[in-house]
């Protein structure tokens, strides 16, 4: 055992000497929530957050690498150090802020919306699908409607299509392209609900230095309008900008 540890130690020492200067920042994302993040045809992470993240890394002069992780375990894997940031359309909330830290928002507070398969649904008493551990799921649980939770956004929409739920409650920007494509099978029902404090990058609470770097980069992107350009590119003309 001792030999084993010493062996790995020697290996690690040589490795760390070689790259001591450049630390790679690993960016954790879900890859299943277009337009925020998704896997493109080539099998790479793509979307609004991919472009924002790459630009932020360039401005902060960091080497970044993209990593996919299930939404369910995205926070535990951050705090145990498997990657260094969460950039996955995660809204800034007080509950999450107790466990991890957030940068300032790079996406303004947005509306969440209900999508159902028929008009005239009373969303206050309906069966509503939402993704587990999202602010939308929390909202539905408190609203008095019956909440059914799913692990992925795809499954929440599928639940409405096959009648398991009356409506799905999610970010309006995620639902909009699906409604547009459904040829009338899906439609927005009920009022939009403004939720959350905007979307920010999640970091470990002990990682203050990295947070400051990303914060500064976000400020600079807001300042020169490049963030707004990306918002319009991915979310269309009407989207709220800075």
């Amino acid at each position: 055992m001792k030999k084993l540890i010493l062996g790995t130690a020697a290996l690690a020492l040589t490795a760390s000497l070689a790259f001591a200067q450049d630390k790679t920042v690993r960016m954790g994302t879900e890859g299943a929530y277009p337009p925020y993040n998704f896997i493109n045809d080539a099998g790479e992470v793509d979307g609004f957050e991919r472009e924002v993240g790459d630009e932020l890394c360039k401005r902060a002069e960091l080497t970044c690498e993209w990593v996919k992780n299930d939404w369910d375990s995205i926070i535990p894997n951050l705090v145990s150090g498997n990657y260094d940031t969460i950039i996955a359309g995660m809204s800034i909330t007080d509950e999450r802020d107790e466990v991890i830290d957030f940068t300032q928002d790079y996406f303004p507070p947005t509306a969440s919306a209900y999508v159902g398969s028929a008009e005239g649904l009373d969303v206050a008493t309906a069966v509503v699908a939402a993704q587990t551990a999202t602010i939308q799921a929390g909202y539905i649980a408190e609203s008095g409607a019956t909440l059914v939770e799913f692990a992925t956004p795809e499954e929440t929409v599928a639940a409405v299509r096959n009648g398991e739920a009356d409506a799905v409650f999610a970010d309006r920007d995620y639902l909009a392209p699906l409604v547009e494509e459904s040829a009338g099978a899906l439609m927005f029902v009920g009022p939009d609900v403004p939720l959350g404090g905007g979307v920010g990058m999640g970091l470990r609470e002990s990682d203050g230095e990295l947070r400051d770097k990303f914060d500064a980069a976000i400020t600079s992107m807001k300042g020169d309008g490049s963030l707004n350009a990306l918002l319009v590119k991915w979310f269309g003309e009407g989207t709220p900008t800075y």
Partner: protein, 294 residues
């Protein structure tokens, strides 16, 4: 992949599918099949090794060794797989990093646990933070093999423990009467004869192991079930050149066929192995073979 794939909207059905099924994401899907097969190929022998050691320990003559073996079997068999996978892998990973941290960064003065954060120095990270993604994936894969081996090793240990006791006692007594030592009796008489009793249990385990591979995704490895879910999901034209509706059913149907074919092949192979092992044994199967031969 093909040159005509630049504008998929204009293609006929066959052309469209030939392009669709060869995109980068689909390649990842196909590679995931090899990952699963590789995992099985590596895990099965390692788990059998764990099982053998566990069974030997459980019937050891030294009390603490026996306790250790029995505790291993009882503990791992009693804990739900999914809890084991979620807890154990993170704990194992942190244990490795903790050891490396102690060795590599002796002058580190901050606590390792800060609230919910687990922090070790940069050079103690496993794999190193700046390692390429494939090293991270290989590391995750190794953790998966170890975890699978420990879980299935416990079940295998229980099967082998029973099989060792099922070897007719007269055989062992005869061996002793011939003056064989305890060790010789074990290796020359018991072990060669126990497999015929162990095989039904072990083949069950193998089947369960085949179907347990989707647990891989809990360990952050993108296995075939993950990709089937991801690829089958609704795709809107805004984000892909190959939009389609909810095709998860077809992808899962394909997985169903894959798993069924795989278990069928295993069944045939295990059947043959059973015939081979039965040969010359003092069991009803062995007796039947002897009669058929004469």
């Amino acid at each position: 992949m093909f040159s005509y794939c630049t504008d998929p909207d204009t293609l006929g059905t066959f052309g469209w599918f030939s392009c669709y099924l060869t995109t980068g994401v689909h390649m990842s899907f196909y590679i995931a099949f090899f990952k699963v097969l590789l995992l099985l190929a590596v895990t099965a022998p390692v788990a059998l090794g764990f099982g053998f050691i566990g069974a030997m320990a459980a019937r050891g003559r030294i009390a603490p060794v026996r306790w250790l073996g029995k505790t291993y079997i009882a503990l791992v068999r009693g804990v739900p797989d999914i809890a084991f996978f979620l807890f154990f892998v993170i704990a194992l990973d942190q244990a490795f990093e903790y050891m490396r941290h102690k060795v590599l960064c002796p002058d580190w003065d901050q606590p390792i646990r800060q609230g919910s954060d687990f922090i070790v120095c940069q050079s103690a990270k496993l794999p190193l933070g700046n390692a390429p993604q494939w090293i991270h994936e290989t590391y995750g894969f190794s953790l998966a093999v170890i975890t699978f081996a420990i879980v299935f090793g416990a079940f295998a240990a229980n099967v082998l423990f029973g099989a060792m006791r099922a070897v007719p006692h007269a055989q062992l007594e005869t061996a002793e009467a011939y003056g064989m030592s305890h060790r010789q009796t074990f290796w020359r008489v018991m072990v060669p004869q126990m497999w015929v009793y162990a095989l039904p249990g072990l083949s069950n385990l193998w089947m369960v192991l085949i179907k347990a591979t989707p647990l891989l995704f809990l360990l952050g490895i993108e296995d075939i079930v993950y990709w089937a879910r991801e690829l089958g999901g609704t795709k809107t034209p805004k984000f892909t050149a190959y939009p389609h509706g909810d095709w998860r059913m077809w992808y899962f149907l394909f997985l169903l066929v894959f798993y069924l074919a795989f278990t069928r092949v295993s069944e045939v192979a295990l059947e043959r192995l059973m015939v081979k092992l039965t040969h010359g044994q003092a069991t009803s199967g062995g007796e039947a073979q002897r009669k058929a031969a004469t």
